[in-house]
Symmetry: none
Subunit: 222 residues, 2 copies
């Protein structure tokens, strides 16, 4: 399997159309995962790592527009494309206002869809938010830490959120209380911060996050 492949999440309940799209995208050497309802789309969108989402507008369990809205409201910045049978101006406006980058009306031309997808990916990678970690970079959108000449490291949602806060101001010490309040608001145990620092260190090595005893953590080493 191509490690460099673009990962596309397809949310489409029409099995025939879904299969067609999977074949089309796979032939263009995208790596496609296909789910069939809005809830599954929400879960994968929140937890998986994606370069783009292709979402049908009419879906069981959770509407396409609503799915886009919820993903956006949870901070997901991955580019999303809506597919729809309806094509009125109002539909388009509503679809795009929900946060989708593009809007394709069925029946669509395969080449056009592929072109739009390429445009989406191109636009996005230009503006992909990267946080500097001193030598390495945190790609918040795909929740990966990229090191020159090494495999990317994938982070869970909480790991990423914690690292984001710590990395926001390199050198500044963040107290456990602050980190807990910002990232683990609905956790009871203040130990959650410690545990996730431990997870991050296990994945990224011990030089990345340094402890300042009695105060908190900061981004190392400098």
């Amino acid at each position: 399997m191509d490690l460099d492949a673009r990962r596309v999440l397809l949310v489409e309940d029409d099995k025939r159309l879904s299969e067609l799209l999977v074949r089309l995208l796979t032939a263009e050497s995208y790596e496609v995962v296909s789910v069939f309802d809005g809830q599954a789309g929400l879960h994968h969108g929140l937890t998986g790592r994606w370069d783009a989402l292709v979402i049908d507008r009419t879906l069981p369990a959770l509407e396409g527009v609503e799915l886009v809205r919820r993903l956006r409201s949870r901070g997901i910045t991955t580019p999303m494309m809506l597919l729809t049978a309806r094509g009125t101006t109002e539909d388009r406006v509503e679809g795009l206002d929900s946060g989708a980058e593009d809007y394709v009306v069925k029946p669509f031309d395969s080449d056009e869809l592929l072109a739009r997808l390429r445009a989406l990916l191109r636009r996005h990678t230009d503006t992909s938010p990267m946080i500097d970690l001193g030598g390495r970079r945190l790609d918040v959108a795909s929740r990966r830490v990229l090191s020159p000449g090494a495999e990317p490291v994938e982070l869970s949602a909480q790991e990423c959120a914690l690292l984001r806060v710590i990395a926001a101001n390199p050198g500044r010490v963040r107290s456990r209380e602050e980190l807990h309040r910002r990232v683990f608001q609905n956790a009871d145990s203040p130990n959650a911060v410690d545990t996730y620092v431990y997870y991050l260190r296990r994945k990224l090595g011990h030089g990345m996050i340094r402890t300042v005893r009695g105060l908190g953590y900061r981004l190392g080493p400098s």
Copy 2:
């Protein structure tokens, strides 16, 4: 009007909530100026003198998160607090990543908001950015001594506290008794001061703290 009052800029478009907050803050003897959209917030934030900003997240003219971001990008370091109806982890992370110090979810408890505001102001004013050591600098917040062209030296809590007192007035001699009283309150042995001077010299070299026999210690060669 109290000249010592803390000046707070409130940016909140909901007139009822705004008035409530103004009353709440004024009762705590803050000096409050209230504006009702993001553009006005931007203007006042850039031109006025403030001890803290309290900003609603959903605002006409300019979003709260974007307002924070723009103020930060123009070099405004005043502590800022975001108010929001939404409360997911991703929201919080986004809000705080924009540069806000704290994030309060509506509906909020008045006392909690006041407590957080106090914490904000305390933190900000306590953060004495850097103490001059004559060539080097002591960063109290991260407990490090920074030297031009050298690795930072990390200090323990007591080491930092001791150096802070000695460095407060360069050249002035501090007696063991004073240092012991201010830093080693609950230590029985008066030797603790000597020991920590020894630790500091071991980390920072012997030129930094000088002994004045019979009197105490003072900073630097001078």
